[in-house]
Amino acid sequence: MNSTVASEGPSQATVKGSYTYGSITDKIADIVLERRTTPGFAIALAIAGAFTVLFIVAIAYLFATGVGIWGVNEPVAWAFALTNFVWWVGIGHAGTFISAILLLLRQKWRTSINRFAEAMTIFAVAMAGLMPILHLGRPWFFYWLIPYPDVMNVWPQWRSPLVWDIFAISTYIIVSILFWYMGLLPDVATLRDRAHKRWQQVVYGLLALGWRGDARHWQRFDTTYLLLAGLATPLVISVHSVVSLDFSIGNVPGWHSTIFPPYFVAGALFSGFAMALTLGIPLRALFKLHDFITDRHLANMAKLLLACGLIVDYSYAVETYTAFYSADRYETYAIMNRMTGPYAWVYATVMFCNVVTPQLIWFKRIRAMPVVLFAIAAIVNVGMWLERFMIIVVSLHRDFLPANWGFFTPTFWDLATLAGSLGTFALLFLLFVRFLPAISMSEMRKLNEETRGVDR
């Protein structure tokens, strides 16, 4: 039966076209099992691999020589590493939002995008988790931040936000991996059953943990999935709030602001949706998944992007207003310095990328153009990175005593570490697309069944 849509037109379809259980499974599983690796994919993999090698080299040189290979100094003791950390963690939040919160809110359109969004989260948090270790002066002692009983009875210093980060990030990565893996189980089992090659059968078989599609399996699956979604939901708010406390607990003018937790969470979702769009649009284009990731999905993600962007823009306004309202000379100077000081170009770029550009999404025509959405999303990604940079570096470089005012200039290794993390992320994502189903087959089958023939 065709799916007909009464009032909203084909662009509002959650699944376009008519599919059966089998055809959905075929379409998605074939990407993994049947499709040959195209030269384009191989080239993309090679490039991502090259940047991954650069990443490894940068890390090795960093450990061998010290943090001094970066541009950090006194007073700017944190720069690229922390910016990367906050940016990557932020990106991850959108995936969890889509997977968990939208599930609990019963938004059916999250079905086709939640798998790769959750994968994006895991890879982003993996990159994020590396950064705090890399930025340490003595990274081989990073485990001292983790509370473990040692013979000297020395524990971490609980009042430090960096220790809270340990809890937040590790909780986040564990829950995210569990959640993602849980959802993967039926799909991996499907791949196991459909695989031709022996190694695929073995690997997928191991990963499937003996899933048989039994009714009891499904019942436990549903319950566990809901529970994990419930666990993951508060993490969307808490993790980035904790990350933001890294700054707002500090007394640096420009950091010491109570709006940081909601501001950062909104910013996280903002950059996360941007990255989801950046990944999802090419994914659907290259693998011809237009029927599953429809224009409606893109439009919804774009709307969420705009909504979060508006909250972020409001936060910028509040920050500026509060600084002047406080009449504190240091806070006032910090804001004025951002806008007119040596890093004014950063501020201007951030405003353009994060405030001006997303306003295009108000227009329905724009929302219907994936290429434009992709461009907006890329611009927002850059803008959000620069915004983290602005918060960290531009606040640090001029604080209380003018004698301490300094400047930060990135070195080659700063850029190499950032580029390397992007490359590694891309590599992981490409491998994910290659070896695992990029869309949740079991959930799509269920969705298709529920919505087939029903007016939407």
Binding site: T65, G66, V67, G68, I69, G71, V72, N73, E74, P75, V76, A77, W78, P132, H135, L136, G137, R138, P139, F141, F142, W144, L145, V154, W155, P156, Q157, R159, S160, P161, L162, V163, I166, D246, I249, G250, N251, V252, R329, Y333, L396, D399, F400, L401, P402, A403, N404, W405, G406, F407
Partner: protein, 943 residues
């Protein structure tokens, strides 16, 4: 079960067992005997782990500074002042602190060289013997000695002996930074060369004609102490300082009224001052002159006019004249003849030597120390003339620019490695004793001289001792010798002031003064040469601590630059780090530009001592060589300089890039009138102790605190380098300083801003504040930043993982991070390090900890004697070295401690007090004393 068949039969068993025993027993031998010997006969008084202090002196240019050297297990590791020595009173300047690194410098020469090959003392000795025979015959006609400033009585006696033996030999003097002008000025006034000795504690009004008495003059540490005694507003009166100078110095920064003029213009200004002082005051147009003249007139016998070493003799004569007229001689200034005061000027002495060499009259030249091929006047022709001496022996610490062109080089023993003696600025003699046997086979200077006279057997010890035994005569010589060594002062050697009553100053009629001399063209650019505040004349170029010590008026490290005023820079259309070409006469030099506020307009200054080519790996290749433009007749300032902007830039390493206070109450300053009107003028509303959610820090037996008096601090930077020496702080190198990673635990911030009615240079030493509510402790994830019970915030190096959150959260930015492996781990560094302080590895945060090692040592001593610590028993390194004693440290629990008294002053304020960090280190507001009814900002105005 027990009846198991045997695995092995009895025979085989016996065979096996005996074989095993044979193997075990036969192969085993007794461990080799390695007899160890207990340290049964230890040096007397040495306790393992306790440092010993030995008194000696360090000289520069012939002026001694009495020091106590800390010796750990026979290794000298730190220089402290000698409280018993009048030039020191317990303090030193920054340059003395660097001498330890100079001693241990691995780039010192270690072998005798002859024409570039390693040679032996025996060969040199036989050469000297053979020459000696010739000299016996011709009276030493071809023998010449070139030395720097010498104040050693023993060495001078050796010279007399040499000249008696070889009457036609000659001894020449050349110091690049010399006092020729002083001697010539004294000769004009008193008929013979004399040196002035100032008593700043008795002067209420001081007028300095480019005399950097706080930073550069011999005796500057003592002068700083005496001067600062008159800067205590609590006494309800302060001295007043007028300074006119070309290149800003710390003396100018301390001035109540500062005037910027080119060096050549100071002569006419001095004439105007003399006219106004001896005649009607109001005749002069310049407020600075009127005010200074009025003050001088009102302080007969309690004022002081002094001229800098760079000023020509006429200005010195004027100063002597004024002091005479004002009745200051005998009160605030006296005159003495020191061993270093020579009849012939340095310039002429060197010129004569060059002349002799050019005419082939010199066959043997001994250069005692120094570096004339680098620092002699560029038109003296020394390098070329040197070639005509068939034997030239360079005797010095390093194989430097000069020794490379001499036929022989002999490594010298460092002042800390040899017996000698030296005279201070006021005539006090110190017998120098060695702290360690020569590290690199260096030869003491006395043995070198003795060898020249044919005595190859005497040691420096015997020579010095014999001399002094001769002086002591039969008045308990052994006891006196021991006392002199112990105290570091030869008593009754100080200051036999000349009775110059008969001397008249000859300057001509004051009325005819106005049009004297050529008034320099105001548009012409003049180039001034000044000794470098940290490298002096380049002799310390290889001392990394001194290269990295920020120079007080510019905060530059590792290089020198062409300093100029903002106005000149705008006129030339150059900015900082642009490279310009300077042309003096027909010589050129390229130098980067650096703008210095308060520099005289139409003038440039270059510091001497940089641009060396053979200073060792640390010192070579930094900065530009100002000696390339310095001529015999214009050693201190040269006119008619052409400046051409080149299309080049040169990175300079500065530790501070922003110099304005931005309206923040960081340095609080007021006039004496403000203070008398309201002693609490420095207090602000935000200083009030605010409530805190954090619990108060409980007080233990001791509560350490510190107070820094900004009215006394002169910004010399001695505290910075003393801390570096005491706490094993590594240097990071020029590129790392540019990156912003210098590691100084106490730094001296320098601001150029309006304060107390004028644009002033404001200094503020900033160590760790040891906040009671330390923001750094809150954010360290591994608890490496902790508070001890006595109030010190302690950094646990072993625990630090290097997140650097503490640095971000420190509003004072006193925390220093080891971004790379800066600390060296070679044997040399291990030897010179203070054994009581951990050396930090890479990735670890470090900072000032109130010299915790000294606190602990003090506590241990007190515990051992079962008593409490007395005030003054624990002295931090910065406190000890400060020439003006601006830093006071002690126990806040002790009601009679000096620090309690200092903090009780109404001038006390807390830096960034509104942040409620409750620092244990507080400041006393700066108070200046401009003339009432006068606006000091007028000083720079009219001409």
């Amino acid at each position: 079960m027990l009846d198991l068949p045997p695995i092995v039969d009895r025979r085989s068993f016996m065979k096996l067992m005996s074989a095993s025993i044979a193997l075990a027993g036969g192969a085993c031998t007794r461990a080799p005997l390695e007899p160890i010997v207990p340290y049964a006969r230890q040096p007397e008084g040495m306790v393992q782990g306790e440092p010993l202090f030995f008194a000696t002196a360090l000289t520069r240019g012939g002026y001694a500074h009495g020091v106590l050297v800390e010796s750990n297990m026979g290794r000298p590791t730190k220089i402290e002042g000698n409280p018993a020595h009048p030039a020191s009173l317990g303090s030193t300047g920054p340059l003395e602190q660097g001498r330890i690194l100079e001693l241990w410098d691995p780039d010192r020469s270690r072998v005798i060289q002859h024409l570039g090959q390693i040679d032996s003392w025996e060969n040199l000795a036989s050469l000297i013997r053979s020459r000696g025979q010739r000299w016996q015959a011709d009276g030493g006609e071809g023998l010449r000695i070139l030395a720097g400033g010498v104040s050693s009585p023993t060495l001078l006696a050796q010279w007399r002996l040499l000249l008696e033996k070889y009457p036609r030999a000659r001894i020449h003097h050349y110091e690049p930074v010399n006092r020729d002008n002083v001697y010539a000025g004294a000769r004009a006034s008193f008929g013979r060369p004399l040196e002035p000795v100032y008593h700043f504690d008795r002067a209420r009004v001081i007028v300095s004609l480019e005399a950097d008495f706080l930073g550069g003059l011999p005796g500057h540490v003592r002068y700083a102490r005496d001067f600062s005694r008159g800067r205590r507003p609590e006494a309800r009166s302060m001295n007043r300082l007028y300074v006119v100078e070309c290149m800003p110095s710390i003396t100018g920064a301390a001035a109540d009224h500062r005037l910027a003029r080119r060096s050549s213009e100071i002569h006419s200004l001095a004439l105007r001052l003399a006219a106004a002082t001896t005649g009607p005051v109001s005749a002069d147009a310049l407020p600075w002159v009127r005010s200074a003249a009025a003050d001088l007139q009102q302080h007969h016998g309690a004022s002081l006019v002094l001229a800098g070493d760079e000023q020509p003799p006429e200005v010195h004569a004027l100063a002597h004249h004024l002091n005479e007229v004002l009745g200051n001689r005998g009160a605030t200034v006296d005159f003495i003849a020191l061993p270093v005061t020579t009849a012939q000027s340095n310039r002429d002495s060197l010129a004569q030597l060059v002349e002799d060499m050019r005419h082939g009259r010199v066959d043997t030249l001994l250069i005692l120390g120094g570096n004339p091929l680098y620092d002699s006047p560029v038109d003296a022709g020394f390098a070329e003339a040197l070639r005509s001496a068939s034997v030239s022996i360079h005797f010095g610490l390093h194989h430097n620019e000069t020794s490379r062109h001499c036929t022989w080089h002999v490594p010298a023993a460092h002042e800390l490695e040899t017996w000698s003696d030296a005279t201070a600025y006021d005539g006090t003699v110190t017998i120098q004793q060695p702290l360690i046997a020569p590290l690199y086979g260096g030869r003491p200077v006395h043995e070198m001289l003795a060898a020249l006279t044919g005595d190859f057997d005497s040691t420096a010890h015997s020579l010095v001792r014999n001399y002094w035994m001769g002086v002591f005569g039969n008045q308990q010589p052994e006891e006196r010798w021991a006392n002199c060594l112990r105290s570091g002062v030869v008593s009754e050697s100080t200051a036999r002031y000349e009775n110059t009553q008969a001397a008249k100053a000859v300057v001509g009629d004051a009325g005819a003064t106005a049009a004297v001399g050529t008034v320099p063209d105001p548009k012409e650019i003049e180039l001034a040469f000044r000794p470098d505040p940290t490298l002096w004349d380049g002799r310390y170029a290889n001392v990394a601590w001194l290269q990295e010590l920020p120079k007080p008026m510019t905060q530059l490290t590792w290089d020198n630059a062409a300093f100029m005023s903002d106005a000149l820079a705008q006129q030339l259309q150059v900015t900082n780090e642009d490279v310009v070409e300077l042309e003096v006469g027909n010589r050129t030099l390229r130098a980067p530009v650096w703008v210095v506020p308060h520099h005289a307009e139409h003038a440039l200054t270059l510091y001497l001592g940089s641009g060396r080519t053979a200073a060792g790996p640390v010192g070579t290749g930094h900065g530009v060589n100002a000696f390339a433009l310095r001529t015999q007749n214009a050693p201190w300032f040269a006119g008619g300089v052409k400046v051409r902007k080149l299309n080049e830039r040169y990175r300079l390493a500065t530790v501070q890039s922003h110099h304005r206070l931005e309206g923040r109450p960081i340095i609080r300053a007021g006039t004496l009138a403000d203070y008398l009107h309201d002693p609490q003028f420095a207090r602000q509303e935000s200083d009030r102790r605010a409530a805190s959610l954090y619990p108060d820090v409980p007080r233990a037996e001791y509560a350490w605190g510190m107070s820094i008096d900004l009215a006394s601090c002169i910004g010399c930077g001695a505290c910075t380098i003393a801390c570096q020496a005491e706490n094993n702080i590594p240097t990071v190198g020029k590129s790392e300083v540019i990156a912003g990673r210098e590691l100084h635990w106490i730094r001296v911030d320098r601001y150029e801003d309006a304060a107390a009615g004028a644009q002033r240079t404001l200094f503020q030493p900033v160590p760790c504040m040891q906040c009671e509510h330390a923001p750094c402790e809150l954010v360290c994830p591994v608890e490496a930043s902790v508070h001890d019970a006595e109030g010190i915030n302690v950094q646990v190096y072993n625990r630090c993982v290097g997140t650097r959150f503490c640095s971000n959260n420190c509003p004072y930015k006193v925390r220093r991070f080891n971004f790379l492996s800066y600390s060296k781990e070679d044997a040399q560094s291990a030897a010179l390090h203070n054994p009581e302080v951990t050396v930090r590895m890479r990735g670890v945060m470090e900072k000032c900890n109130y010299c915790l090692q000294r606190v602990v040592r003090g506590r241990i001593s007190a515990d051992r004697d079962d008593r409490a610590l007395r005030d003054g028993e624990v002295v931090t390194a910065c406190q000890a070295v400060c020439p003006t004693q601006a830093i006071v440290f002690g126990d806040l629990n002790d009601p009679h401690s000096e620090v309690r008294a200092a903090k009780g002053s109404s001038r006390t304020y807390t830096l960034l007090g509104e942040l409620n960090t409750r620092p244990r280190t507080t400041y006393l507001a700066r108070v200046v004393n401009p003339a009432t009814g006068r606006d000091p900002s007028e000083d720079g105005g009219e001409r």
